[in-house]
Amino acid sequence: MPVSRTMTLPDLKALRRGDADAWDEAFDWLWPTAFAVARSKLQELLPAEVEDVAIETLEALVEKTAGVAKVEELKSLAASIAHNLAVSRLRERFAAKRGAGKTESLEARQDVDGNDCEPVAAETPLAELGQAELAELLGQLQRDLPAPQRAVVADFFLEGLSYEQIATKHGLAIGSVGVYLKRGLEAIRRQGAKHPKLLKELEAFLR
């Protein structure tokens, strides 16, 4: 059963000194983020890799403390590194299997699913962003997408709830659900537009 804990933020200066106790604290603090991202990308196709990718993410973070201004930024960076590592694993895995003729292609899988809105795990527009750029996008969205909007957008796109179900769940008028969704997507568009690579991916998608 998952354990929820409240913990103090690790001391960035101590992390930069290589202090073991500070790093122990940081690993505990960052683990849920790294693991959650790895699981969301790999659970379906490569479940045995989830834990390993989360650990590799934390290993990679050890070298990144010099590049952050505040310790909180390590969370976005952890999410970003875990995402990119997971996508690499998926690409390597399926490239290898395609090469060996062992399994269906990614494209075939997409056809079977038949869902335009659900990209194959490795084919994500975010994959074009570097670690730092994706972390920056996440930080911007955390500031620009208030929690109530984020909850509505997540319920609609991730949980598959209908307007009616979302209205009931959040105590909103049904007409407000669409307004929340619209503002949420506007925030994503606004922040996404600041990242040329992501914009380019989206434009390619429109063609």
């Binding site: 202090d19 959650a36 984020r150 619209k182």
Partner: protein
């Protein structure tokens, strides 16, 4: 379009994009797109944004997650990385009481401790057996190097090679009689590209499968970490 129609178009587009629309709503959207061709671009833009939303929202949620705990076996590996990165030993967590008085005391006690430790250490060491399964048989290249990598990882272990899955299955069912020590079987399936660890530790069964993915050294490290964690006292 006025703002009311604009919101209606958005709602219809959203429902169609996530496949929640009724037939009537789908027809209404089609009619809107036919009457306002400029909305087609807008619709595709919304579809692209929905795609980004589906990708980015789990990452945002993950940055707020506090559920789950770092596996104990990973902590040592991560602290090693800290030591390698910062180029000096990790600071001790407990004050070390070195001095000549302690040295004398230590010297007289150490011989006894070492003798006791050797006995306990042996009892706690796991019995490790390794099997390599290669359905293509021993003629395929790379097998010797991989076997050596397995031997180097678990130096005290025995390594056996098989070319039939049924033989490995039989081998896997046969456990050493020495039940007092943890027992671990490691099966490297070259054809499937996976390393499987199965163990019996203090009456419970543990297991983990690691994908090799052209990096046997990494998979062996992961497996070794897992074995150490599961069999430590």
């Amino acid at each position: 379009m006025n703002s009311m129609n604009d919101q209606r178009f958005f709602d219809l587009a959203m429902k169609v994009i996530v496949r929640q629309s009724s037939d009537a709503e789908r027809r209404e959207l089609d009619a809107l797109l036919a009457g306002h061709p400029e909305l087609k671009t807008k619709f595709e833009q919304l579809r692209g944004e929905a795609r980004v939303a589906k990708e980015v929202l789990p990452l945002l949620a993950a940055t707020e997650s506090s559920a789950g705990e770092l596996p104990p076996y990973a902590r040592e590996r991560l602290q090693t990385k800290v030591r390698q990165t910062f180029g000096r030993p990790v600071e001790s967590r407990r004050p070390v009481l070195w001095g000549w008085r302690w040295a004398v005391a230590f010297a007289s006690a150490s011989a006894v401790i070492v003798l006791v430790w050797v006995g306990v250490f042996r009892q706690s060491q796991p019995v490790i057996q390794i099997a390599m399964l290669d359905l293509a048989g021993p003629t395929r290249g790379g097998g010797a190097a991989e076997e050596e990598a397995l031997r180097n990882t678990w130096k005290a272990a025995t390594v056996e090679s098989f070319s039939k899955a049924s033989e490995v299955e039989a081998w896997e069912q046969t456990w050493p009689a020495e039940a007092a020590r943890p027992q671990v079987k490691i099966i490297y399936d070259r054809t499937a590209g996976e390393l499987r660890v199965v163990g019996r530790v203090k009456g419970r069964t543990v297991q983990r499968t690691i994908l090799v993915e052209n990096d046997l050294a990494r998979a062996l490290r992961v497996a070794d970490d897992f074995v150490r964690e599961q069999t430590k006292r």
